[in-house]
């Protein structure tokens, strides 16, 4: 068995002192916000805190789109796949990102730079197709623009790395 590192979730757990099942999803959201993803160890800690079995927690976590079980890339790309975005060509945008990064949705590039996620609808349908990178929105993207957008982040990373 791998060595277990028990993450320090006490500050988060303190916000939900009583073991009430209703706290489960907010707790998972807080832990993910803090750690970027839900590790086995975190789920174990939450399980003990809320007195809910890990299988139940895993069941809940895998039910909702929001939760992930591996760390994110430094730039997290969310591609909106709402109807309006689809009609305006988001399938091609997604294909372009996949082929540009050589990853599928839900994966992270090997260098850890980018991770990719498909979201149901960002809610800015008037500006379709839309993607967001670390919360920065890019409206009206096309496959051709993708290359530029990705490169701009690569460049940003280089600058960041060099100084």
């Amino acid at each position: 068995m791998e060595h277990l590192i028990i993450p320090d979730l006490d500050p988060i757990l303190k916000r939900y002192p009583d073991p009430n099942r209703e706290h489960l999803i907010p707790l998972l959201q807080d832990v993910q916000e803090e750690q970027g993803y839900l590790s086995k160890e975190s789920i174990g800690v939450i399980s003990r805190h809320l007195e809910v079995s890990p299988a139940k927690i895993y069941g809940v976590a895998t039910f909702y789109n929001q939760f992930r079980f591996s760390p994110l890339g430094r730039y997290h790309i969310m591609v909106c796949r709402g109807t309006a975005c689809h009609v305006k060509g988001s399938a091609n945008v997604l294909a372009a990102i996949c082929s540009g990064l050589k990853i599928q949705p839900g994966e992270t590039t090997r260098d850890g730079l980018f991770s990719l996620e498909v979201v149901a609808c960002i809610g800015a349908c008037g500006l379709a197709p839309l993607i967001s990178v670390n919360g920065e929105y890019h409206a009206g993207v096309t496959p051709a623009k993708i290359k530029r957008i990705l490169n701009s982040y690569r460049k940003r990373e280089e600058i960041h790395a060099n100084g």
Binding site: K40, S53, P54, K56, F63
Partner: protein, 573 residues
């Protein structure tokens, strides 16, 4: 009372009845795949849909309340077509290897396909590949055969209170899974096998030990010895179409001999031995301020539950091995010695109503270092398969008796198979040990029944002994909490992992029918009542064993052979 019209006939319906209840009561069969009688309907499988006049869509009869004036068609073309399509959809990604499936013949999906005349795979298979989980010594999980009815999930949570598995993922990616899809062996699964009893397909099954057992039977170097648990003789009949609750002890022994087992012993004998040790241990704890209450330790699922959930309370568990393991130790030591056999040449098999016994047999403490005391555990179902495979016409056999020295039992040893039986047997002996006299009435009926927790105070020469019976490990949690909170009036608590005890074990003939469980329990108590010896300490073979080999209960030899220890268990989950 409400009147409802089903298929043109009018039937009365009580206030809390569902449409399915009324149909069932009146001989109208509606298929279900996800329905469990005692639990809330989940409405997942949609097999039970019926046409209700005025409703826009078909309605699920399992959850729809029967209300006055309803007009229902249960087998209209529309309902039949819908059910058939649902079966076809399930078959879209169900492996069609029925020929090789352990559940062929007892598979609900297979039966429904036959009933509804499904003759071809209608839609192309489009499901992702899924992998078999064989990590557990007791159970196998085959997600490819899972139809996601959710019965196992509900039983594991609502009946057992374990929740080792749940649905994971969503939509067409939904599966039943352990957390992070780890193997069952590192999950919090306690191997009780109740999920197998409710699984409509071959997605959940015991890890089969038929292969090693048949290999051993073929091996001329091996002396193959078998023991059978008290609850097996009252349930095996069902596998051969005989009526539930029929005691086939003699036929069972005969069948085992025909299969080639050289010696056939009765686990009820070692149950008597367990009582001797356990009752003595109880008396010892009471007299020496030991940890009280003492919990029984014969149910291996319960032991694992304690090790992973309450590791700080392990000293409350009786240190006695279970009857299976006591017998195992006796066979590889006492029996081997008296028959001048090398323990290595003995292949010890047990037939158990239980899947967790497979887990118990491979625990490292359950052997003397040279090998396990029990080499293989067969469930009641596996034994039936073995009997059929050997062409033995079970109901045409002539009854035979078990072998000595471990073949004779008391009535007390036999009722081990039912919830409440262990404590009843133990009290009979404890009373004797403390007072030197027998109980006026050996029938402690207040401890029998089917409630989750049953409590009683037994007067032993002015000393009130508080006892409790837990039927189904879920209910233990309440008592544990009370003990943690300082409850002091309880001395002895019997815990059976499965509701009803071993007669309803996860290795028993498949069913989910409370009536059958009752019949099995009744059979055990009837055997006890008719038994010439009804208390463990009066079993002559037990007395002989102590006189010639063990010395006294809790003595040094007992300690070495018949007692064990527990340790905290880090489940990854």
């Amino acid at each position: 009372m409400a009147q409802i019209n089903i298929n043109g006939q009018t039937f009365p319906a009580k206030a809390d009845q569902t449409v399915l209840d009324v149909c069932e009561q009146n001989g109208i069969e509606i298929p279900t795949l996800c329905h469990i009688k005692e639990l809330m309907p989940s409405g997942a499988c949609r097999m039970c849909v019926v046409e209700v006049e005025g409703a826009q869509n078909l309605v699920p009869s399992c959850s729809y309340p029967a209300t006055d004036g309803m007009v229902i068609k249960t087998h209209s073309d529309r309902a039949l077509q819908a059910r058939k399509t649902i079966i076809e959809l399930l078959q879209t990604n169900h492996p069609d290897d029925c020929l090789y499936c352990v559940r062929s013949g007892s598979c609900d999906l297979q039966e429904l396909s036959q009933d509804y005349g499904v003759r071809q795979r209608r839609f192309a298979n489009n499901s992702p590949e899924q992998h078999l989980d064989v990590s557990s010594p007791a159970l196998e999980r085959d997600p490819a055969k899972c139809i996601l009815c959710g019965k196992c999930v509900r039983v594991c949570e609502e009946v057992m209170g374990v929740s080792a598995i749940d649905f994971a993922g969503r939509g067409s990616n939904a599966t039943v899974s352990t957390p992070f899809n780890v193997g069952l062996n590192v999950s919090s699964c306690i191997s009780c096998g109740q999920c197998i009893s409710v699984c409509p397909t071959g997605a959940l099954r015991e890890s089969s030990s038929l292969k090693p057992v048949t290999n051993a039977l073929k091996d001329p170097e091996k002396t193959v010895v078998v023991q059978h648990a008290p609850a097996v003789s009252v349930s095996l009949a069902e596998e051969f179409g005989l009526k539930p609750g029929l005691d086939v002890n003699g036929l069972l022994v005969a069948a085992l001999r025909r299969l080639g087992f050289k010696y056939v012993f009765d686990t009820s004998f070692s149950a008597d031995l367990t009582i001797m040790e356990e009752a003595s241990e109880l008396v010892h704890r009471v007299q020496n301020n030991g940890a009280l209450p003492m919990f029984t330790s014969c149910s291996p699922g319960w032991i694992k539950y304690m090790e992973q959930s309450h590791p700080d309370m392990l000293d409350h568990l009786s240190s006695c091995k279970s009857p299976q393991q006591m017998m195992g130790a006796l066979i590889k030591n006492v029996f081997a010695e008296s028959y001048s056999l090398n323990p290595k040449d003995i292949y010890s098999v047990s037939v158990m109503p239980c899947t967790a016994k497979k887990f118990e047999a491979q625990r490292p403490e359950m052997g003397d270092g040279t090998g396990p005391d029990i080499d293989s555990v067969l469930t009641t179902r596996e034994l039936a398969r073995l009997i059929r495979a050997h062409g033995i016409a079970f109901d045409k056999l002539k009854p035979e008796v078990a072998d000595t020295p471990f073949g004779e039992r008391s009535g007390a040893g036999k009722i081990f198979g039912s919830s409440g039986g262990v404590i009843e047997a133990a009290l009979r002996t404890a009373h004797y040990l403390i007072t030197g006299t027998e109980l006026n009435d050996p029938n402690l009926k207040m401890l029998r029944g089917s409630e989750g927790i049953r409590e009683a105070v037994v007067d032993v020469q002015g000393l009130p002994v508080g006892v409790a019976v837990v039927s189904g490990v879920k209910h233990a949690e309440q008592l544990i909490q009370e003990v943690r909170d300082g409850r002091k009036d309880l001395h002895f608590i019997e815990v059976m992992t499965c509701p009803g005890g071993c007669i309803n074990g996860g290795g028993q003939p498949l069913h989910h029918d409370p009536v059958r469980v009752k019949a099995r329990a009744a059979a055990l108590y009837k055997i006890d009542e008719g038994a010439p010896v009804r208390v463990s300490h009066a079993n002559p073979e037990i007395q002989e064993l102590y006189a010639e080999y063990l010395g006294e209960p809790l003595g040094e030899k007992s300690h070495h052979l018949l007692h064990t220890h527990y340790s905290a268990r880090e489940t990854q989950f």
